[in-house]
């Protein structure tokens, strides 16, 4: 079995500690340093977790898209692993978005959920990537990576639709913070970006661990297959 590269082994704990410090600082900034919003009060601080989680999920879905296209062209197994890992971690971040959104909506809108275009399209996006993961998990056909890559390409088309849905449709969801004509206090923007950086570093580390796990799992599966083949030959 292949062991870890020495550089990777050393870098991971250092990056892990730095990310933990960054996440703690981001938490302090969100709960203490950021100014309190006048109309919503403290509940607006949910935004510092909700929005960076959404951005991180979108980036991971785009990584999944790029890796899937690369896999379809080159049939590169590493690209297939990157696609799987980015979709899985992206679904985790998208789950955070779908959970924190209604928790914010209840005190602000008075309802947990509404079938508005942004919320519904985010739920559909989540379902597409969950179905992608189910396909990866439960299909053992040799064509599974290619089928999953094709599904990922279609799923990625949904990402810009989710982001721009609040421009094209009348929706209850607030306007985008950046590039959507909305305005934000510079101190709030600073806290938002710190949180995004912290969650992006965290997502990178989780993807790294998950990539290594998936590579090891595939090597173990290959070794088991080889073992079975040798048993068959020995028995014949």
């Amino acid at each position: 079995m292949r062991d870890d590269l020495p550089g990777m082994k050393k870098a991971f704990p250092i990056l892990g500690v730095l990310t933990a410090i960054l996440l703690s600082y981001a938490l302090y900034e969100s709960l203490v340093a950021a100014p309190t919003e006048q109309t919503m009060g403290d509940v607006q601080r949910i935004f510092y977790y909700h929005v960076p989680s959404a951005w991180t999920a979108f980036i991971l879905f785009f990584v999944n898209f790029g890796a899937s296209v690369f896999y379809l062209i080159k049939r590169n197994p590493a690209a297939d692993i990157v696609a799987l890992v980015s979709a899985e971690v992206g679904v985790v971040f998208c789950t955070v978005v779908l959970v924190t959104g209604p928790i914010w909506a209840r005190p602000v809108w008075g309802i947990w959920w509404t079938w508005d275009m942004r919320l519904t399209s985010t739920l559909v996006l989540w379902l597409i990537y969950v179905s992608y993961l189910f396909l990866r998990r439960f299909s053992s056909s040799g064509q599974t990576p290619a089928l999953a890559a094709a599904l990922a390409v279609l799923g990625a088309l949904c990402v810009p639709f989710v982001y721009f849905s609040i421009w094209f449709f009348r929706t209850q969801h607030p306007q985008p913070v950046m590039g959507g004509g909305g305005s934000i206090d510079p101190r709030m923007l600073h806290v938002l970006l710190i949180n995004w950086l912290a969650f992006s570093c965290f997502a990178f580390l989780v993807c790294w661990s998950r990539y290594r796990l998936e590579s090891l799992q595939r090597e173990v599966d290959q070794a088991h297959a080889l073992e079975s083949l040798m048993d068959l030959r020995g028995g014949a």
């Binding site: 955070v96 796990l213 173990v220």
Partner: protein
């Protein structure tokens, strides 16, 4: 009460991440066990 929603959102975020990290750790230990089994003498690796 409004702070309760803030706490719930932050707690939910970290619960989701920690549960996912726990699944990764559990899968790691299973793979490590399988690797140890494969490395035993007389087993192909």
């Amino acid at each position: 009460m409004r702070n309760g929603y803030l706490f719930a959102a932050y707690a939910a975020t970290w619960i989701i991440h920690i549960v996912y990290l726990c699944t990764i750790v559990s899968r790691y230990s299973r793979v490590k066990r399988e690797i140890a089994d494969l490395k035993k003498p007389g087993v192909a690796s």
